[in-house]
Amino acid sequence: MKKRTFLYFPLLLAVLACTGNPDSFEQAGRQPDIYPDYIGVTVPATIAPLDFDIEGAAKVIAIAEGPDGQTVKASGKSANFPVKAWHSLLAASKGGTVKVTACGKIDGKWKMFEPFEIYVSEDAIDYGIAYRLIAPGYQSFSHIGIYERDLSSFDETCLIGGRNFDGCVNCHAFNRTRPEDISLHVRGTKGATFIRKNGETVAYDMRTDSTLSGCVYPYWHPNGRFIAYSTNLSRQGFHQRPDKVLEVYDLKSDLQVYDTQENVLITSPEVKVDGVNENMPVFSADGRSIYFTSCTEQEIPRNVTEVRYNLCRVDFNPETGDIGHKIDTVIFAEAMGKSVSFPKPSYDGRWLMYQLADYGCFGAWHHESDLWLLDLQTGETRPLDGVNSDDAESAHSWSSNSRWFVFGSRRDDGLYTRAYICHIDADGVCAKPFMLPQKSPRDFYDNSVRSYNVPEFVSGKTDFDGNAAVRLYNSDERTKVGFRWSDSSL
């Protein structure tokens, strides 16, 4: 390491001279304590600059150097790299390593730190991510919105919500990252499920006499015709121990599939069982199965810690929308004293990632909640040790090429969820995840009092007309949906 420092020394000295900064500084003899922690992370070549702050430093100077000697410099209160030069550096560093040497002015003295590395993957990443920004709030809500972020820059666009209307938006989902197909829900007196398909946005009233409630937790079928939902009677409770916060639990829930072609909700007696709560359904990559979570109903909230969901699977006919009869238990989490939530199969059909917590259906508020990976070829399952933290990991989603996943984590401060992106190779080996880059990140995240909720990859701009959707929300124009039982012959 010392040798490397020596190599970077003249370069850094030149920068210091150019920036009118010190002509003397001491060697820290260690890598910097940077925020966010980008040391040793793996990034896609198109990612926005990994700007960072050095803890305790009033000023920062940093140089990022690619394998071919190309360099990008940053100096100021934070290390904010110029976007264009950064992209050029990363493009030239694909499959290699970018070395970053940083210097920080701490307590009036300049310190030079050992360089750290950032690995640049050859695997491409999608255009951006879409997420909900939401402030902590349990009964009231404000300033909720669904936003889209271009991953190659710092540009963020509000799709709906934010300051243009006062509804509560949630449950946004895209079809395998395709920005054209969107399902999202708006809660409130005029609540509706918005589905955009073939360029047209329709507001649906998804409640029927035969189903529990509206549609929750959407997941598109690969053929774009069907959307799997659960329908939930959800409640929330407030823990009293200081290390716990909130519990979201379902009094009842069922599984249903919406057929966009026939405008009907489909369910079967096997996934609408009295005394059993089926939840969070997702289609397999080939579209022939539905994975979902399931638990035995408990007396709530008394036995909330006994609520344990298993991962199950049922056949699905993508031609007719019918649901099979045989329910397979894929992960018997109950036996482990654990509970599965948010299963998400990779689009290449190889993996299924899920959350595992001690109990409950909503791990986002469980500090012990971790991401686990199921190998759909071998049936082996394991926690993502290098990815998980001491705090809650939740709401993950896959990139279109299944080489990246984005997830929410409360590891930063224990309350506000931040989006992290992680590389996963063909063998399921995960790199160190990195926090969604921001310019002057310490100031940005310190100033932010909203959580990044349910981040999802999008392969292009969504071009969602939020104002039109708000007009639709404010109108009474709602399309009712029909209901049918699944064909029992499947």
Partner: protein
């Protein structure tokens, strides 16, 4: 104008200024303080950049800057009054013809704006935008040559829109009136109205809000019409002064001012709400932990809602008078002790404070977030951030505490408080032993986890006591909970009658006597801690009760007793 008229005009301004200061500091002081409570002005570049990034942002930034000084009612009132008078002077300066009638009329826009300031969610940004718009119009009017003046006016419109918001229409209208040129008038007005229309597709705001002005009122729906009536009035006054009507030196010049002022009083009172003022008073004083002041205020004017009574009960508890005096005030069930989920979120801060003082830190945090979400224009709140920082420290969530403290360290009035804590941040033990954090850390609930159930609050309170028997607040609340629920059995089993070092509080003695009666105890066997005078009063109460003395008489005689609550509420 004659010298006397000038003096009268100056005097009228001075009188208005004084009246506004008194009104917004004394009569309506908590509304003024509340302006500051609903924001967190940070003296950072990032905050400035974020605020000025949208149309009207500069005026909003200035308004928010001035709003900081509403931390004290008197300084906030002074700022409001000065801005209102400044607007009046600017309108007056824009008037070509100056006579007593015009002089009186120039108060109309100011009075209309004062009416807006009496609503629940006004902003100083409206006043700063109004004043700056008129200043710009005045400055343009000072350019002597017609052509450059008109070019400057047209060029300024988009700039003023970006800086001050849609009140640029006022600028355009005033300039158009002064110029007396139809083509110019139409051009300026079209350009001014076009600004929000052009911004509409570029910004995530509905057109209605862009046209009204993004920062002129905190709430986005049901916005008062008065800001725009004031703008219209300003244009009308300038136009009237511009009209070539022969000036009539009215002999009744003081009457014009008097008439305007007389109309202003009911108009302002109509827009004011004493009910809101009282509700804000309790919420703010609880947030400031001004326990003695709350008790004093309650003696002057009794609390009216669940939330207000809950604040008073906390104040009584913190001053050691809960058991002695809580039934001196009207109590109405357990909601007057612990606000339930139906409490308005605007009272979230005082609700959070109650839970914090009890040691139910999670509930306190939950209500802090509800209070933040209740801020209609999504701003942060300095007092709520303060409590969030404290709850984070008590819960040992130091990284989270740092976040809130850092934000507070960028403010004017909370900086010292935040910096004191940030200075100790390196040594967390030092931070934890600060002030009452060590005690709160002991008192907070940390036992076996369970989901909070409002109806079983007594269970939570008992668990707090089991965790830390020294939690006097929890003990008082547990006893009060039983009393308010008329659960004498639970009260008797929880009340440590022998443990009181001084006199057993009055309400506890009264409850004891109810229990004594229920079990047919004889007066001779009453324990020592029961005051004979209370026994005599109980006997009188029983006599009156059994002889069906009317309730109003009973209230008159025994309204301050637990017996009255027990039998009549």
């Amino acid at each position: 104008m004659t010298r006397i008229q000038k003096i009268t005009d100056f005097g009228a301004s001075l009188l208005f200024l004084a009246a506004a200061v008194v009104y917004f500091s004394v009569w309506y002081g908590f509304h003024t303080i509340n302006l500051e409570q609903l924001q967190l002005f940070e003296g950072t570049w990032a905050y400035f950049a974020e605020t000025v990034a949208i149309p009207g942002g500069f005026a909003d930034y200035l308004g928010r800057f001035l709003t900081q000084f509403c931390y004290y009612a008197w300084s906030g009132a002074l700022i409001i009054a000065v801005l209102l008078v400044l607007i009046r002077i600017l309108v007056w300066k824009l008037c070509t013809r100056k006579d007593t009638l015009i002089g009186a009329m120039t108060f109309v826009p100011t009075i209309l704006l004062a009416m807006v300031m009496c609503y629940r969610f006004p902003t100083l940004s409206l006043l700063t935008a109004f004043a700056l718009t008129l200043t710009a119009a005045l400055a343009v009017n000072c350019i002597a040559d017609t052509k450059p003046r008109r070019i400057v006016a047209l060029a300024l419109i988009p700039v003023l829109y970006l800086l001050l918001g849609s009140l640029v229409i006022l600028f355009a209208a005033v300039t158009a009136v002064k110029e007396r040129n139809k083509v110019f008038a139409i051009t300026t007005l079209v350009l001014a109205v076009a600004c929000p229309l052009v911004a509409y597709p570029l910004l995530p705001y509905p057109l209605g809000r862009l046209l009204y002005g993004l920062h002129y009122y905190k709430v986005h729906i049901h916005m008062p019409v008065w800001p725009w009536v004031a703008a219209l009035a300003a244009v009308a006054v300038v136009a009237f002064a511009e009209a070539r009507i022969p000036s009539r030196q009215l002999r009744v010049w003081p009457a014009a001012y008097a008439a305007i002022f007389l109309l202003a009083v009911p108009a302002i009172l109509l827009c004011s709400s004493r009910i809101d003022e009282q509700s804000l008073k309790y919420n703010i004083l609880t947030g400031k932990r001004a326990w003695n002041r709350i008790v004093t205020e309650a003696t002057r004017r009794a609390p009216r809602t669940y939330g207000e009574t809950a604040s008073l009960n906390l104040a009584l508890c913190k001053t050691g008078h809960m058991g002695g005096h809580m039934f001196d005030y009207l109590q109405d069930g357990p909601e007057t002790l612990l606000p339930n989920e139906n409490t308005p979120y605007q009272e979230g801060l005082s609700t959070a404070e109650i839970f914090y003082q009890l040691g139910m830190v999670n509930n306190a945090r939950r209500n802090c977030f509800e209070a933040l979400n209740a801020i209609p224009d999504y701003q942060k709140s300095a007092p709520v951030f303060k409590l969030l920082a404290e709850t984070s420290i008590v819960n040992e969530k130091y990284e989270l505490a740092r976040k809130y403290l850092t934000a507070l360290s960028h403010t004017l009035f909370y900086k010292k408080w935040a910096n004191e804590r940030l200075a100790k941040y390196e040594d967390l033990m030092e931070l934890m032993i600060m002030e009452e954090y060590a005690m709160k850390h002991l008192e907070r609930y940390k036992g076996e986890d369970y989901i909070f159930d409002y109806n079983a609050s007594d269970v939570s309170l008992r668990q707090l006591l089991a965790e830390y028997p020294g939690n006097i607040t929890a003990l008082n609340y547990l006893l009060a909970w039983s009393l308010l629920n008329k659960d004498i059995g639970a009260f008797m089993s929880d009340c440590p009658f022998e443990g009181f070092t001084e006199v057993v509080p009055k309400a506890y003695q009264e409850a004891f006597l109810i229990n004594w009666d229920l079990f047919g105890g004889s007066p001779e066997d009453l324990p020592q801690f029961i005051n004979p005078r209370i026994v005599s009063r109980k006997e009188a109460f029983t006599r009156d009760f059994e002889t069906n003395v009317p309730m109003n008489k009973m209230m008159e005689r025994y309204g301050d007793t637990y017996w009255f609550y027990y039998y009549f509420k």
